[in-house]
Structures are given as C-alpha cells and as structure tokens.
Symmetry: C2
Subunit: 105 residues, 2 copies
DNA sequence: AGACTATATCAATATATTTTGATATAGTCA
DNA sequence: TGACTATATCAAAATATATTGATATAGTCT
C-alpha cells in the first residue's frame, strides 16, 4: 500500500515542485536575500554589499531566485531593484507545510 | 544599515542552521521519506520499496535525516524502524517560518 | 562621442551531493 | 554452525551547484 504522499499524481507533482522550491532557498545567500527583501526593495549594489559577495555572484543568486519566480526585478536608470513576490512565497510556503506538518494537530 | 536578518549573531546563527535544515529536506526522496513517516513508523525495506530506490541509497538518505535529528531509529530483530522526530520537525519548521513569512500579516 | 557606473553573462574551476557497486555487520532460523 | 535476511558502510563515479575572473551590455553624465 502506497503512502499518501506518493499515492496520486497531484501529490507527487506538488512534492516535486516543493523540492525545487527548497533547493532554491536552501542556500545561505539566497535565504538572506529573501529575508532582506521582506524589509523592502533593494538594488543589486545594496545586496552584494550587505552580503559581502562579489557583484557577479550576487547577480547569479538573484537570477536563480528570479527565474523561479520568488522575486521580481524593476529597472530604474542604471540600477535594478528587486522585490519579493509575496504571492509566490506564500504559495510555496503553504505547499511545503502540507508535506512537513504532522497529520494530527 | 544592515538588514534585520543579518544584524545580530543570534539571527545569523538561526539562519545558518535553517539553511542546513533546508539542505537536508531539499531532496525528493528525503522529503518523501519524511512525508511517509508522518503516517507511522516504517522499516527500511518498506521505504526503499515504496520509493523504488536501491536499498543502500535509501539507507544513505535515512542516515542524512537521522544525523540531522529529523528521524530516529529503533531496531527490532533484523529490521530497523524509523520514526519522525516531531519535536525537531516543528522546531525547524517554525524557525524557517521566521525567515520566510512576511513581516506584515 | 567618451568616460563612467550598475548589472548581467559566460567559461572555467572548485566544491558538494547523489548514485552505484561491492562488501561488511548483525540478527534469525534450521 | 551455516544459510539467510535486513541494514549499513565504503570507495568510486556521475552529476549538480557555487564561485571566480573576465567581459559584455546598457544607462548616465559631461
């Protein structure tokens, strides 16, 4: 008998995309970026300076977050400001909870 | 001005250990294992058969989960039964939420 | 246009993680 | 004891990911 979590296609797909989400956020700099952006939008130069990362590495991590849809970019002159995508974050967060939280309360 | 998430040692440590937690669960088979174990204890042979994994690979993933304290093992004759450590799971889950959830409600 | 700034991209390298295959350990049962 | 079963361990190979260094792009300002 298959356990619930692997029983039907819907659940299996949900689990796979949750794992992708986890891979994206399971990196210290990326989690810090998400965490920073909760306080408000930041340009790339703020981000790499805060995190003590080389500029290109910060850009790389921002791209990973953006490609996955967790943040969005807005260009203003030379600078690019990133913002958190609250909707996506809360969506992934709740599907994560479905897999993590105990059945009983 | 440092963003909140990186400002003091406590938060930084919390973030680092949350990232470790995320790395542990950000793997499809391991998330499935955690998910299965919510339904009750399982022996290794149940687990590798359910997941369609070779026995040694299942053992490997179980070790990762166990070393991190998310599951525990109990030996019964030849078999080893794994159970979820609800306390650890809910602890890590709430520290994760501290970093992920938006400040405003 | 030319010098400058902010960001992105790309290829190469370094590092970490997963997977495989072979073997070891430890308990059971005849 | 010997054959068997369940699980764990270990080294090697395969794969994925992060990091670096160099360079490109695109906007600003004089």
């Amino acid at each position: 008998m298959q356990p619930k979590c692997c029983r039907n296609k819907g659940t299996t797909d949900g689990l796979a995309s949750t794992v992708e989400f986890l891979k994206v956020i399971a990196e210290e700099n990326r989690l810090k970026i998400l965490c920073m952006l909760r306080e408000g939008d930041r340009c790339v130069c703020d981000i790499w300076q805060y995190l003590g990362l080389p500029q290109n590495l910060a850009s790389h991590h921002l791209k990973v977050l953006k490609d996955f849809g967790l943040i969005t970019a807005r260009k203003d002159g030379l600078k690019v400001y990133y913002s958190i995508n609250k909707k996506a974050m809360s969506m992934f967060n709740s599907s994560l909870n479905e897999f993590l939280l105990s059945y009983e309360k």
